[in-house]
Symmetry: C3
Subunit: 152 residues, 3 copies
Amino acid sequence: MHPDDKLAELGLTLPELPTPLATYVSYKRDGDIAYLSGQGPRRPDGSYPTGKVGRDVSVHDAYGHARIVGLGLLAAAKAVAGDLGKVEILKVLGMVNAAPDFAEQPAVINGCSDLFVAVLGERGKHARSAVGFGSLPNGMTVEIEAVIRIHP
Amino acid sequence: MHPDDKLAELGLTLPELPTPLATYVSYKRDGDIAYLSGQGPRRPDGSYPTGKVGRDVSVHDAYGHARIVGLGLLAAAKAVAGDLGKVEILKVLGMVNAAPDFAEQPAVINGCSDLFVAVLGERGKHARSAVGFGSLPNGMTVEIEAVIRIHP
Amino acid sequence: MHPDDKLAELGLTLPELPTPLATYVSYKRDGDIAYLSGQGPRRPDGSYPTGKVGRDVSVHDAYGHARIVGLGLLAAAKAVAGDLGKVEILKVLGMVNAAPDFAEQPAVINGCSDLFVAVLGERGKHARSAVGFGSLPNGMTVEIEAVIRIHP
């Protein structure tokens, strides 16, 4: 099934890519590889859920935030590849704004990883690190970046 | 000397690769490049040493943990390349679960970097960042990921 | 304008590359790609500005530190490529030694990103994550790593 059809089946729509606020770009293509800039769980009104996961925010809620980030990364992937049917996820860095004793980063970032596999199938499987950061931009709960391959 | 012989000379054996607990994979090959997922200092019984380096854990002990992670990454490299004799380490991200005032991350991650050079020689030399994270999965002390080239 | 001329116009000179203190290298070339190891805002005397951004160090000062790191990364890029005129920045990971409630990491790392675009023009634009770390080597305020393409 084409990823666009899979998204429709899941009742999901890709968000619009936000304009980067600085001298960097949302994605950078280099031949058949593209680097997708770190994104947060941006709400339609442009705001972000904030707080430390494990203290202010539950794993369950943060999983949902990571899933929203995954949709944003798929939007960037579609923008750079032209077609989600050409996209393979290679590597993900999952960044959790976590309390110092938080230990369930993988369960949070699964929100993004599970979405990639649900939408892209085998091509959604990726190498990954899912770890806790001291702080994130805007105080948001999760940020994720990715490296992808663009198939012909 | 072949890396397998070097490992034997050092009295080291590669661990079995743990099964990832989520929708990601231990390594992802893309042509002659492979991305190795972040690993921790997994003990044979599946547990991990925990604590904040610089507060609960000494640099000396954490160096040893980074060395164990290095062995796990070599196991992943062998699994994806088929032969350690084909492996070159390109880039390492060394993640230390550190106290906020900790400043010796490089001395910790050297446990992994030194092992790579001991086992792979010139091909073990890599670009690197070795930095302190707010928290890591399972509360483990060190996590390391790598990018490698697979030679013919 | 050639990047060397642009540097001169900006009144900037590239620093000497510090010798890595461990078994890693300042950069690793793999074909036309190079990985630049994480660098800090090294002063000519070898010391680093230290402290937590958002608590001990202002965003304004940390922006300046990130700009110094950018110069160091350009020095590494020139060393590996032979000529800054061949260099394109693909991906940047901006690491801020930040207080737990710090939220302006992008404004800090802009110090590096703005420099890359000022010196390299279109080729200076890159994918990026700019995030807060729990601690950095030597207690320094900022560390940045990059992936670059070397054009013929």
